[in-house]
């Protein structure tokens, strides 16, 4: 199988091409710029289109139009740019159009900085824009997983007619790893009879809309959306467990922080402390089942590690539901959690359990 060395941001682009995405609209922002650079070269090779918009606001609305026209379409940005896209994402969610949005998160709030961060967790999983809507959110932790999850993201977007967000941080975007591309996946997007492609060959006209002026109507739309999200919650939770079966301390971390946590698990096991990792791959729907099972099983304490001030922490607490203590360790502002820091925190928790 072909092994190539790839940068994370480029892998997002190549993954999209393999998923059959032929349209990308975006606006430059660090630290995700290699993604549009890659697609600006790559998409024309496969008959696709890269278009640089005048703003993130325009980019997400170009995505809205392209998705309405039936295309597999993607945009990418980083935190402040994703904030600008929230209006559009809310419209796309209500109009039930499929698309993929990549957020290579950077330090915030405000202009913040361009260093790695996970501080957009709330924005990604709790809504971000206005109204009651949800996005499936995927969090790859390696370059290989980027390639795989981007394909899944497009499939989920089409399956649920919903925007899907894929989040990484600046480390994931910037680092290089070998990946196995393998044969391109079979891409068969479902038919899109709802797309606004012109009425030719159709008896009735299609309207893509998110305006429902009658409250009775809008509530029906919301109930339909909620039923869809319920199905997403039932069918799409994904996670990875690492040495978690007999672990008495469970670290919960996503994305690059989970890679750091894995090193901590190994070093702590060497030191005789039974530590394991549960890594949410889907941040929404949140994989609460393995956490609830651990909380009722061998786990005596949980440690949530994030590059933010404690956002996923809330979802972990909801899953553990008071059955075991949930600790937190986080760095903010673009500071990256170190193995030694997390080891120290694990040792403290372990001492407290004795």
């Amino acid at each position: 199988m072909e092994r190539v060395l790839m940068k994370g941001n480029e892998a997002f682009g190549e993954g999209a091409v393999r998923a059959g995405c032929r349209h990308f609209f975006g606006y430059p922002i660090t630290p995700q710029s290699e993604l549009p650079h890659y697609l600006a070269r790559r998409l024309p090779e496969v008959g696709g289109l890269y278009l640089q918009a005048e703003s993130e606001v325009a980019a997400i609305n170009m995505v809205y139009g392209a998705a309405a026209a039936g295309a597999r379409v993607m945009t990418s940005s980083s935190s402040p740019g994703i904030s600008l896209m929230q209006e559009g994402i809310s419209y796309i969610a209500c109009a039930e159009l499929p698309c993929v949005v990549v957020n290579i998160m950077r330090g915030g709030p405000g202009l913040g900085n361009i260093a790695p961060s996970q501080a957009d967790y709330f924005q990604a999983v709790k809504g971000g824009g206005h109204g009651d809507y949800r996005l499936p959110v995927l969090a790859p932790a390696s370059i290989q997983e980027i390639i795989d999850l981007i394909v899944l993201a497009f499939d989920l977007a089409d399956k649920y007619r919903n925007p899907v967000m894929v989040v990484g941080d600046g480390i994931l975007g910037q680092m290089m790893e070998p990946v196995e591309l393998g044969p391109a996946p079979e891409v068969t997007p479902p038919p899109k009879p709802w797309a606004t492609t012109g009425t030719l060959g159709r008896k009735s006209r299609n309207v893509v809309n998110s305006l429902y002026i009658e409250p009775e109507e809008l509530e029906k739309v919301n109930l339909r959306l909620q039923a869809k999200y319920k199905q997403v919650e039932q069918e799409e939770k994904r996670w990875e467990e690492y040495r978690a079966d007999d672990a008495q301390v469970i670290i919960v971390a996503f994305g690059m922080v989970a890679r750091i946590a894995k090193a901590v698990v190994d070093s702590m096991r060497m030191a005789g402390i039974p530590v394991g990792l549960i890594r949410p791959v889907t941040l929404y729907p949140f994989p609460d089942k393995p956490l609830a099972a651990s909380a009722s099983g061998a786990a005596k304490a949980f440690l949530v590690v994030e590059m933010n001030a404690g956002q996923m922490l809330e979802d972990v607490k909801l899953a553990v539901c008071g059955r075991k203590p949930v600790h937190f360790y986080g760095r903010t502002g673009g500071m990256v959690t170190s193995v030694a820091e997390v080891e120290g925190k694990v040792r403290d928790i372990w001492e407290g359990l004795k």
């Binding site: 349209h23 609209f25 289109l49 278009l51 918009a53 005048e54 703003s55 606001v57 325009a58 980019a59 609305n61 170009m62 995505v63 809205y64 139009g65 392209a66 998705a67 309405a68 026209a69 039936g70 295309a71 379409v73 209006e87 559009g88 419209y91 109009a95 606004t196 492609t197 012109g198 009425t199 030719l200 006209r205 299609n206 309207v207 893509v208 809309n209 998110s210 305006l211």
Partner: protein, 248 residues
């Protein structure tokens, strides 16, 4: 043999929600007739705005998309880039196009997007209750300029056609009015031409249509037609601001 004026197939059989005498209805008809006469109704995708024409997706008898406020040209760009053979138009008011959506309009023009923009300028925000628009005339009273628009506070009316005409990617930019039968016929010709510019792939086309808002102007519909002639046209002169080198 008797001939009759026909109701265009380009419009769905629905009653407009517009106020009595509002000339949105005339402009809807002209756009719909143009699309029908060019034989492109089945491959047309329209993008409607936020504003009084927000329900235009109920009226145009083709595939339609409702855009966020000001974003219609970006949405239209997405459609047209995916479906280059389609005919794509936006229908936008002065708040949508000339305030919140100025960037999207200017850059769609700059990219030479093969779309047609129908820009309805009635110098006021209609739907939200008669507030000042970017195109409100100096001295014009609105609910947010109760003593008349003063340049020292609220600046000057934005002349969109003049501005867009300076952009290389804009192929056809013209300003018309629908305040008289003669001007309505001219507006129809302009709209036909704008769609033809798109069909020929010449670039971005924009037709600014001076329209009325009797309700928020505080005038009767006939008075509103006169107001267009006496007050608006002197500030917003009619005519072509840019025509394709290869005349359509």
């Amino acid at each position: 043999m008797a001939v009759s004026t026909k109701r265009t197939q380009g419009l769905a059989d629905k009653h407009f929600h517009y106020c009595p005498g509002c000339t949105h209805g005339i402009i809807h008809r002209l756009v719909a007739e143009a699309i029908e006469e060019l034989g492109v109704l089945e491959k047309t995708v329209g993008v409607c705005p936020v504003g009084c024409a927000v329900f235009a997706y109920d009226y145009f008898n083709c595939d339609m998309i409702e855009a966020a406020h000001g974003r219609a040209p970006a949405v239209a760009t997405g459609v047209k880039r995916v479906l280059p053979e389609s005919v794509v138009f936006t229908y936008q008011g002065d708040g949508d196009l000339a305030a919140i959506g100025t960037a999207e309009t200017v850059h769609a023009a700059a990219r030479g997007e093969r779309i047609t923009t129908i820009f309805v300028n009635n110098a006021v925000y209609g739907m939200t209750g008669g507030q000042m628009a970017p195109t409100t005339l100096l001295g014009q009273k609105t609910t947010t300029t109760p003593f008349g628009r003063q340049s020292s506070v609220a600046g000057y009316p934005l002349k969109v056609s003049e501005m867009v005409a300076t952009i290389d990617g804009a192929a056809y930019v013209t300003r018309v009015a629908v305040n008289s039968p003669k001007n309505i016929l001219r507006a129809k010709k302009a709209i036909l031409k704008a769609f033809n510019v798109q069909l020929k792939g010449l670039g971005f086309s924009l037709v600014e249509v001076l329209s009325t808002c009797p309700t928020n102007w505080g005038l009767s519909p006939p008075e509103a037609l006169r107001w267009v002639k006496e007050k608006m046209i002197p500030v917003y002169p009619l005519g072509d601001f840019k025509v394709p080198e290869d005349e359509v």
